[in-house]
Symmetry: C2
């Protein structure tokens, strides 16, 4: 099955106590499509400037990402972000955000994308998310990401998106903000009541918790002894989750649980090196080995 991924394509400058990279490729659509490509053939929708060269496109193409939906704005500059991490990888300051061509992003899907059965809408303006959904003659299985900026700034538009989608990826703080509930189970219940069938609450190094109306599933994170750069971990989680689901071709409790674990181990790889470096060299066998190691570390006998 095929998976359309819509989101940001960016250059990131990332500074950590252990080193830095300058203008490396990043953005939600890049991280999620690079990992999804280990499971299926993702079709990317995004926008870049003329500074996004053939070499940059090559990083995605060598992974088999379809770039027909990646628009280039003549004379434009690609979205640029600079961030700095402290000794604790959970603490991050944004130093520079230059939206550039992303400011006027208006996703247009090539005809060849419109028969996709799966769709992941990265963290973009809910109005754009709605406009993407409207382009499909038949609604694909849709997962979305969002953030506090849209929860505060466009609550009604976001509500309309939530009514139409199947899976929501959201972190714990955002789930509390969106629902007005401090307790995570109550927060998840409230988000489910807004429409989606599946709510996935991401908790960073503390794993992720999936909720449906019928069951819950908790995935522990795959702990690392060295976190070099956590940028893109959440996008990689969603990309691994949606990529596995698209490859499985069926949504049930078994495939949703496996999608959670694939998302979890996918995110762990991203943190091991700067930018998408670790994802470039990753194959499905490595992912499966880590998947099974997480099974070894969490499975226990019933009583």
């Amino acid at each position: 099955m095929s998976l359309v991924i819509v989101g940001s394509v960016a250059f990131d400058t990332i500074v950590t106590p252990r080193g830095r990279v300058e203008r490396a490729i990043g953005g939600s659509a890049v991280y999620s499509s690079m990992i999804a490509s280990r499971f299926c053939r993702p079709m990317l929708v995004g926008v870049v400037g003329e500074d996004f060269t053939a070499e940059h496109r090559g990083i995605l193409e060598e992974r088999g990402v379809d770039l027909e939906g990646l628009a280039t704005v003549p004379g434009g500059k690609t979205f640029f972000w600079e961030g700095r991490y402290g000794a604790d990888p959970n603490e991050r300051d944004t130093i520079v955000t230059e939206l550039n061509v992303f400011e006027d992003f208006s996703p247009k899907l090539p005809g060849s994308y419109l028969s996709a059965e799966y769709l992941f809408l990265g963290n973009i303006d809910p109005e754009l998310q709605l406009s993407v959904l409207e382009q499909f003659p038949e609604k694909p299985v849709t997962g979305i990401d969002t953030m506090n900026f849209w929860i505060e700034g466009k609550p009604e538009e976001l509500r309309r998106v939530l009514e139409k989608v199947d899976i929501v990826f959201i972190n714990d703080g955002e789930a509390r903000q969106l629902s007005g509930e401090k307790n995570l189970l109550r927060a998840a219940d409230k988000v489910l009541s807004m429409g989606p069938e599946v709510v996935v609450i991401k908790k960073g190094e503390n794993g992720a918790h999936l909720f449906t109306r019928d069951f819950q599933f908790i995935s522990s994170a795959f702990a690392l002894d060295d976190v070099l750069d956590p940028t893109g971990a959440g996008d990689t989680f969603a990309g691994g989750f949606m990529g596995y689901l698209a490859s499985a071709g069926d949504i049930n409790s078994g495939t949703l649980k496996k999608a959670m674990v694939y998302g979890t181990v996918s995110a762990s790889f991203t943190c091991e090196k700067f930018s998408v470096e670790r994802l470039r060299a990753l194959d499905i066998e490595e992912i499966k080995r880590r998947y099974n190691r997480l099974s070894d570390m969490t499975r226990f006998d019933r009583e």
Copy 2:
């Protein structure tokens, strides 16, 4: 197999946004022995004042806790603690600490305790922990808890304890402090190098992570939709863990994993009501049901 538990016995006044209790029984030895009693017959070692009445003793006795090692100081007053929680149950302020008879606690084990095969040393002065170990003609399988106060205040004495014990229970912040390592896997490695065979890092609502030289095991917490009072959750975790191990009578990767899950679900019950109220009414079948529910919520198919 039998389990000796040494620690504090206290009166707690606990204030939360949802209510308060006045001078309810608490303390590490109380929480851990009340839950351990669902698995084996715990033998408590502690000290109280004359204000600790037959009624208070009855709360422990009705659970089958052996109180031969509970000393009463004539004319003395029992350790008193008052704490206040904010809207976030992870935020707690200590309002009052009156050590009273606990200040001169010098644990003496009755002869009938000295053949116990398992020992849990709650969070007390490492010098007292050493003095308890020395009373045993044959060293039992020993688990200890500790805290930042002793890590800072008696580092050398604590190191001597760590060389002699089998299992260390410690929370994530304390593990970082004790090891000087920010990363949890490295912190655990360093604590293992100090002597114990097993290091259990408790992460509150984010579960717990067990480390040995041969394997790791991660337990997700059992999420609750209502946390009324988290006081004693860590002590209940250790009591459930050690109580199960003592009942299993063998230490191997299978029993250690099960001990982790029993500790986890035990702690969840404590948080559901104030003080030890939930533990008073708890039976082993309820514990096993929740144990199996946690298995349902975390188990996934291998690849």
